[in-house]
């Protein structure tokens, strides 16, 4: 049992990671190339099936909430009915069916867009709080932030066309340089984690501290 929980996942990571990595760079013999393709395809298939696991967990938690009458338990009924109902509808009638489309267009889409639009409000309050010129660096951040905001919309251009030119410059040079630096650091971090998986040194995903 211990082998199944620790050694097998590590060796699967070593084997799968090495094959996929090799296939990225080297035209390897057909049968090894096929292994790489299979790993990639399995990943696509597993990602789809994993949703079922998630849905199972969701159902269990909400069923428990109802059974134990926890706070706001009645909303759990809405979740369960929506989850099962819409899934059954999709399987039985397919995506193009008018009922499926009606729910997607008139319930799901507006709800999603509404939740997403809350970001506009949250960004405004976060900007107000964070953009305070407490020192020289913060002042530079504030100034460049205001210029980019003005240079990205019509009102900035109407006030002074130079905002647009300054925005282009900020985005092309200081921004690109800083982002490249951060991206290179993050990419090396990702390579580091991946090598740790491939060499069997990464075990955080197997549980324990």
């Amino acid at each position: 049992m211990k082998i199944l929980r620790s050694s097998v996942p590590i060796w699967l990571g070593v084997f799968g990671g090495s094959i996929v990595l090799l296939a990225m760079f080297i035209k390897i013999p057909v049968h090894v190339g096929l292994w790489s393709k299979w790993f990639l395809e399995w990943r696509v298939i597993l990602a789809s099936f994993a949703l079922t696991l998630g849905a199972g967990n969701l159902l269990r938690i909400h069923a428990n909430r109802i059974r134990m009458k926890r706070e706001a338990w009645m909303y759990s009924y809405v979740t369960i009915v929506a989850l099962i109902g819409y899934t059954v509808l999709g399987i039985l009638f397919k995506r193009t069916h008018p009922v499926y489309s009606f729910i997607f267009d008139n319930a799901y889409s507006p709800l999603s867009a509404t939740v997403f639009s809350i970001n506009a409000f949250y960004i405004s309050s976060a900007c107000y709080r964070a953009f305070r010129a407490r020192n020289g660096h913060a002042a530079v951040l504030l100034l460049s932030g205001v210029i980019v905001m003005l240079g990205s919309v019509g009102i900035g251009y109407a006030i002074w066309p130079g905002f647009n030119t300054m925005t282009q410059w900020i985005m092309n040079y200081p921004n690109s340089a800083a982002m490249r630096g951060m991206n290179i650091g993050a990419a090396l971090g990702i390579i580091g984690v991946s090598l740790r998986v491939i060499f069997g040194l990464e075990r955080g995903h197997l549980g324990g501290e």
Binding site: R43, A113, Y128, A133, G154, M171
Partner: protein, 275 residues
Amino acid sequence: MNGDFLTRMQNIDRRVIYTVVFLVLLFPMFNPIGLPLKISLVTQKAFDAVDALPAGSLVMFTTANAPGTAAELEPQSIALMRHAINNKLRVVLNPTAAESPRFVDGYRQMFLKAGYVEGKDFLVLPYLAGGETLFGAMGSDLKSAYSMIAAGSSALWDSIDGMQDFDMLADCGGGESQLWALAHIEAKHKTPTICLITAVILAVRQPYFTSGQYKGIVSGLSGAAEYEVLARVPGKGASGMDAQSMGHLWVIFTILAGNIAYFITKGKKSSGGDR
């Protein structure tokens, strides 16, 4: 200046900020101001790259559009589809997020209305999960990634061997898919690539434009409005620009007000405060 007022200006109640954001966004939607629109370099280049494609060129449009990001991505996508139709390009529509097929259905209707024949002039691929793995599979062997499409079911699909046959890849989304497109398709097959993105991620995509890996970027609602103007296909992008301008102006106002109050308070403290 009254100390209480200055303190309040540094701590404006977020409910006040939210209410004014709502009002300044709402007002221009009913009373358009008609603010000027400056075409940005990234949009111009994206338009030029598509416009330069001769009629009959093959374009893959991968989209991760979802209801949450549709306010920005849908006007961009529609403008691009209409441009493709006007220039008689062949398009393979590829939804790469679970919510995207519904949007692709809409583009399909646009092509059908324009007289395109499905399977010959354009094609809709089924949605597949997998994220980066899917892009990796597409880059290495497109046909086996979509092995569920039977040979002989579509003339267009039969004529394609892999991503190397595409004259352009246009990736649309607010996530990482543009980077996957670069890593697994552009780098491998040198497919000219443009991306349609939410405005917030322009800062991290711009370096790939300056390096020449993206031929162009359509970013946010402003990018959609600019593309509509360039392609002469009026749409929803331009109508949202005034609201965006006013929203930006209000955020700038709150930031400046907070900072002015902060500096006056700081000045008073260092000179001994209110007397």
